[in-house]
Symmetry: D2
Subunit: 139 residues, 4 copies
């Protein structure tokens, strides 16, 4: 089982008047993790997906648990795995840690859709084969 | 049981290259709904809460289901109720509709904390009494 | 000479760890002022302009002077006028005040372009006639 | 004369419904360039500056010229130099290119202030000495 990793720094622009990451900015980071995963691991960058092929992977649902606050200057280490790959969907598990401390855990279901019709599309075989590498082994 | 209502327009800045609301912007709107609810319904604006009293109401967890995409120019009608008010927390239910069509449903748990210590604080009696008005009746 | 007016509240999401408006958020507000101006004053909403007609009004250049900081909870009163309407462009003057105190002054030049080619397009006559109402009188 | 360099990728979250970078997102990138410059070149990270020392470097004024649009997936190469270092201020010059094409040029004046009083503070000697290395030579 593969685990995709990504890292970013908590910048001034992510923080609220309390000096903590404003949680909508976490979802921007989650989107960056997914986008970078598609570009680097799946080999399907969002320019090609969205602009050339007119496909997208919107979130159908997402949930997040915030374990501890993140602050200006923290380095966030992200991991992305999958709980399940469906015909046209993928249940992703994304977690952020800083210096080994869990900061947030996110579960989100993306669906491959055609942008003109918003109808679900089956994963292409090549993408599916790669996505399946990231499925967590079950106990 | 009271229901808090709020409305906003989907602006250019909320939309992604697919012409749909980029979901992290929905969470900014959710935060605006909560912030406006505290200012107008609870009578406790975020300037007083955060700057004067050094308290905050960060999200402990949040989940969202996206039922249908929203597009540039849509009017979003938001409702906020509560599923439960705890000693220092509140389980909020926030939904967005446009022209009667459900767009998203959000469940989020906020916790009242002191910003210096990040320790939970019990709701003040006045705020609690108002919050309880928004608790959904159970079947 | 007409002056377009708009108002917004400084929300939690606009503020930085110093408790002041983070200046890129001011530009989001400026965009909202321009977008609302086109919808309400010019009668040309951004959905029709961008999605239906495939036109846009990107900024060619913009400058801002920040006179005094804005804080959480401030009400910002915006005014929009024009310094000059060109064949395919408009030099806008946008200012934000709070409780009568000048907060920022912005000068920005928008250009009407076709989104496929990014080539400048002359203002339609109806839009131009309205835009010209907002040109500041010269001393 | 030194030139500070930084690079970022244009992500989905930076782009508008026209598929181009939404210009307020450019200012978030400019802020990231400045913040990274202070951390890496000046040795003064924003956590220490803002949280520990209660100082900040807000923009007093900023202007930007947008030469060509940037699109999803573009790599942006940023440079930062200074036109002048004042007692408590610095006139920065920040430019973004992609594949050698000029995308935007920004001139911004930051002022070192104490966050409690918002009063200007003279640059510490160590920071000033480094900032002066980035001043452009004059013809």
């Amino acid at each position: 089982m593969a685990v995709f990793e990504h890292r970013n720094t908590i910048l001034f622009q992510h923080c609220d008047p309390a000096g903590l990451v404003f949680y909508p900015r976490y979802f921007e980071m989650v989107n960056e993790v997914v986008e970078t995963f598609f570009a680097r691991a799946v080999g399907w960058d969002f320019h090609r997906m969205h602009v050339v092929e007119r496909l997208g992977v919107p979130m159908g649902r997402i949930s997040a648990e915030f374990h501890a606050p993140s602050r200006l200057g923290d380095e966030l280490d992200w991991t992305l795995t999958a709980a399940r790959i469906g015909g046209a969907s993928a249940e992703l598990r994304i977690a952020g840690h800083s210096a080994g401390e869990a900061r947030l855990s996110v579960a989100g279901t993306i669906v491959l859709v055609h942008l003109e019709t918003m109808k679900a599309q089956r994963w292409p075989d090549g993408a599916r084969a790669i996505l399946e590498n990231y499925v967590e082994e079950q106990a």
